[in-house]
């Protein structure tokens, strides 16, 4: 069989960066992503290929070395794998389990935003309460930013990972930049 040629997903904001004293916005490093959907009966089986238990508490995430799992819904998780060497092996293992594992690496990209004004800049477009009490580090959630849907994931107190559809990322970048100009 002929070898299938794959288009490479280049990060859309490669080389771009914004930084002032209060905020820094940059493209996240390339990673592969899987939309995972599984019922409660399969959760135990999934522990082995993933290497950890999937988070089941709403709005929480789990990171183990290069693999992260974000709770999006009662039967839905986003897996982000930053190690390109383990991508196909993980997919093959997931294929043997009764679950839906769809590779969405080329659909999504991510922007990292950090700095002391990070909550203010995000709240320019996102109506969520992002205080540390309501949205502590490790929290993740699908939500809205302006007109687009994003997945917001708090990595540390002042650092967020924003997962976004690739074609929406230009809008997100421009919006964040606009909001960031009011800081610093």
């Amino acid at each position: 069989m002929a070898k299938i040629k794959m288009a490479l997903a280049r990060p859309p904001h490669e080389g771009r960066r914004f930084a002032n004293t209060a905020i820094s916005i940059e493209q996240a490093l390339p990673a592969s992503r899987v939309s995972l959907r599984a019922g409660s009966n399969e959760l135990a089986e999934l522990t082995k290929p993933l290497g950890f238990k999937l988070p089941t508490r709403p709005g929480t995430s789990k990171i183990k070395s290069s693999l992260s799992a974000l709770w999006l819904g009662p039967d839905e998780w986003l897996l982000i794998n930053s190690n390109p060497k383990t991508v196909s092996a993980l997919m093959e293992k997931l294929d043997t389990i009764k679950c839906s594992n769809v590779d969405i690496s080329h659909r999504n990209t991510a922007i990292i935003i950090s700095g002391k004004a990070v909550e203010d800049v995000l709240n320019a477009g996102c109506p969520r309460d992002l205080s540390l009490d309501a949205f502590p580090p490790g929290s993740c959630s699908r939500t809205l930013f302006g007109k687009i849907e994003i997945i917001l994931w708090r990595l540390t107190d002042d650092r967020f990972h924003i997962e976004v559809w690739r074609s929406y990322s230009e809008y997100l970048w421009a919006y964040l930049l606009d909001a960031a100009k009011d800081t610093g």
Partner: protein, 102 residues
């Protein structure tokens, strides 16, 4: 902004994350072929559209994606309670006295 409690996310979320999806607790008929046109019309098109307390379906479309049910007063736009799909209709008498109100 109006906050709506999502029973799956177990927290209050901004209204813009949600989409309304019509009246709740409408049972799908077991045998549609056996229905008369009038019966089908009643099931498919006719809704109560009450002024006041309504049982509604809502979807947390920009969140967990789940459908759930809500009791909402259409006069005050106040959500009296929300609950997971498949759960029993809450007793309206208890809601009016404030029990179970969010």
């Amino acid at each position: 902004m109006l906050l709506i409690h999502c029973p799956y996310c177990e927290e209050e979320r901004p209204e813009v994350e949600f989409a309304g999806a019509g009246e709740a607790h409408i049972d799908r008929p077991k045998d549609m072929n056996a229905m008369s046109d009038a019966e089908f019309e009643k099931f498919f098109f006719i809704r109560d559209n009450l002024k006041g307390v309504n049982y509604e379906r809502w979807r947390h479309i920009h969140g967990c994606g789940r459908f759930f049910n809500a009791v909402r007063d259409t006069v005050s736009d106040k959500f009296l309670t929300t609950y997971k799909s498949g759960e029993k209709k809450p007793d309206p008498a208890k809601l009016k006295t404030g029990k179970g109100a969010k």
